[in-house]
Amino acid sequence: MATVTVNSLTFTYPQRQRPVLDDLAVTFPGGKFSLLTGVSGGGKSTLLRLIAGLTPLPTPNTITFDGNPLSAIAPGKRAATVAMLFQEPSTQFTMDTVVNELRFALENQRVDPAAIPGKIDAALAFIGITNLKDRSLMALSGGEQQKVALAIIVAMDSDVILLDEPFASIDPPTRLTLLQKLVALCTQRGKTIILADHDLSGYDEWVDHLAVLDTGKVTLLSTEQTQQRFAAFTPEQLRLTHVTQPSSALTVSLQGSQLGIAQGKRQLIQPQDLSFFAHRATLITGPNGSGKSTLFRALVRLGKYQGTLTYDGTNIQKLSRKRYAREVGLMFQSATAQFLNVTVTEELDLSRRFGNADYFTAERVQDLLTQLNLADHAEQVIYSLSSGQQKKLQLLCMLIMAPDVLLLDEPLKGLDFASIQVVMQILTTAQRDLKLTLIMVSHQLSGLDDLITLHLHLDQQHLTYEGAAE
């Protein structure tokens, strides 16, 4: 059980005027589950990375564990003091397979080789993923990777467990399992847990304290205050009032015949006939790791698929890559994958040069930038923007391109409530004005009602249109 104390911590990003953490002082009680919340880009990740020792402290000894700074703890004991689970599941491993990664972590702690196999088996059994032991890490779904990452922390027996938006792209059942395991670690093993999430929904029965990060300072709420705050918060729900079955009057844009999707040897979507309809906004939902992103990659010819796919009646393999890429575009889940230039202005200029500059005039783009709170960042290097700002810029860039079909893979990921409202309004207006075909995958459920008219649900390896007949 370790108490984490932060004392007068001020942190400013390089080349930035305003500190993101401003004379911050907070004590995270030992053996408790604290939820750190605040707007995206508000410094939650930065604070966690500073606690974990991944970012060097600007002034030494401002963060202590039971009174000891991390630098005073022996190297072999640091991972037993604090460990972190990252937002992006696939980026937290060094080795190839689950068992090798666990060995690597235990070797670093100088665990006796004879004790390593036992510890590995116990940790995997605790999380309930013994069957994944010899699997390749890269072949696992995001949810499975997060479970493995937690199993490693269990094996390392870390006193303080930090989690940075660990459920950002995780399906509800996996999230529930992980939360149950975290609470068990808290109550049975006395671990101190600090989890960062901008979304409060689904935490009320699990956490002890809310820690609110606002304008560089953290306020830790008491248990009563925490419960009051949760009671005042109503969880978002998928409420789609305009969704109907596709009518026969609709034009088919993309048509799959016996379209199937596999990842390696794992079949994700069984071969089926599937139509996507032109000038409509379609939402695709389904559990994480079920193949939605893989389907999108197949639709833009970045991945393999079974069966045939036609666009406006022509097999997409027969179309020139160049032409097809301009007509069917993908907004990648990872924002940085989309960018080709250095500054915000350069990136927007590129889109305007080849995109729909008639509609997206300089004035309109400037207005949209202001709405998205990006107007002050025009000359900034894209890679120094926060992840939420990158996501908003990415959406704007792809919207300006205005391809006939725009696939959006988690366009609202990591955005705070206010940003979601703005983004959805911009998307809805552009879709109506330009009659775009939008196909969207989102775990974020609020704010979609105005836009979505068709809803595909992926379940049991099959996609079905939801809603009543028109």
Binding site: G76, A83, Q92, F93, R326, T336, L340, F354
Partner: protein, 217 residues
């Protein structure tokens, strides 16, 4: 055979062959490598690839040398076979060595600092990621109306950026899983370095020396 010693043997022989001009030794090395690859079930497709690529380059090299230069037929034969020695021995090494075992061996037997050993492994694991990244960058550019070729600076800018990002992520991942530069570690698996490895290493080197000396006359 112990992976570190195998690597050392391959490098030693390759180095010697590049200074010596004995084509019989080259042919012997090619045959031995080929037999060992066949014993180790290297796929036919891979063998064909390992043969056709050097065949093209050594043929063009020999052809141009015989047209323009004053090289003797003996020298041309040495040059022709030498390229095959490199490729076949390299093929034998990579096809019969598990990168993780090599990493562990370099760390444990060759006493290479863990930072370099795992850095090497991470670089190896990055290969498929780089390939996928290049495909994604090209597609992303095409969707924005730009065609990137393999000589486009923007492609390299993005790949280097991605690699820098990965190296940061990797450093964070290693730190978070308890890796501290220069700190002692234990080893879950011990890579044996036994007398037999040394005998094999010495024997193979000796055989090559004998071949080279008798070939030089």
């Amino acid at each position: 055979m112990n992976p570190s010693l195998k690597l050392a043997l391959t490098v030693f022989i390759a180095l010697e062959v590049s200074f010596a001009q004995v084509w019989t030794v080259n042919v012997a090395l090619i045959v031995v490598s080929l037999i060992l690859m066949l014993i180790n079930h290297v796929s036919f497709k891979r063998l064909l690839y390992l043969t056709l690529v050097p065949l093209f380059f050594s043929s063009t090299l020999v052809w141009s040398l015989s047209l323009r230069g004053s090289a003797s037929p003996h020298f041309l034969l040495v040059i022709f076979t030498r390229l095959f020695v490199y490729v076949y021995m390299g093929g034998l090494f990579t096809q019969t060595t598990d990168p993780l075992m090599l990493t562990r061996s370099l760390e444990q037997n060759a006493k290479l600092p863990a930072k370099f050993a795992y850095g090497f492994l991470a670089a190896f694991n990055l290969m498929p990621k780089i390939k996928a990244e290049v495909a994604t960058i090209k597609a992303a550019a095409m969707m924005r109306g730009q065609i990137l070729h393999f000589w486009s600076p923007q492609l390299y800018f993005k790949v280097i950026l991605a690699a820098m990002n990965w190296s940061d992520q990797l450093a964070a991942a290693m730190t978070s899983h308890g890796f501290v530069e220069g700190a002692p570690r234990t080893h879950a698996l011990t890579i044996p370095l036994v007398a037999r490895d040394w005998w094999f290493f010495g024997g193979a080197l000796l055989l090559v020396q004998v071949g080279l000396f008798s070939g030089l006359r």
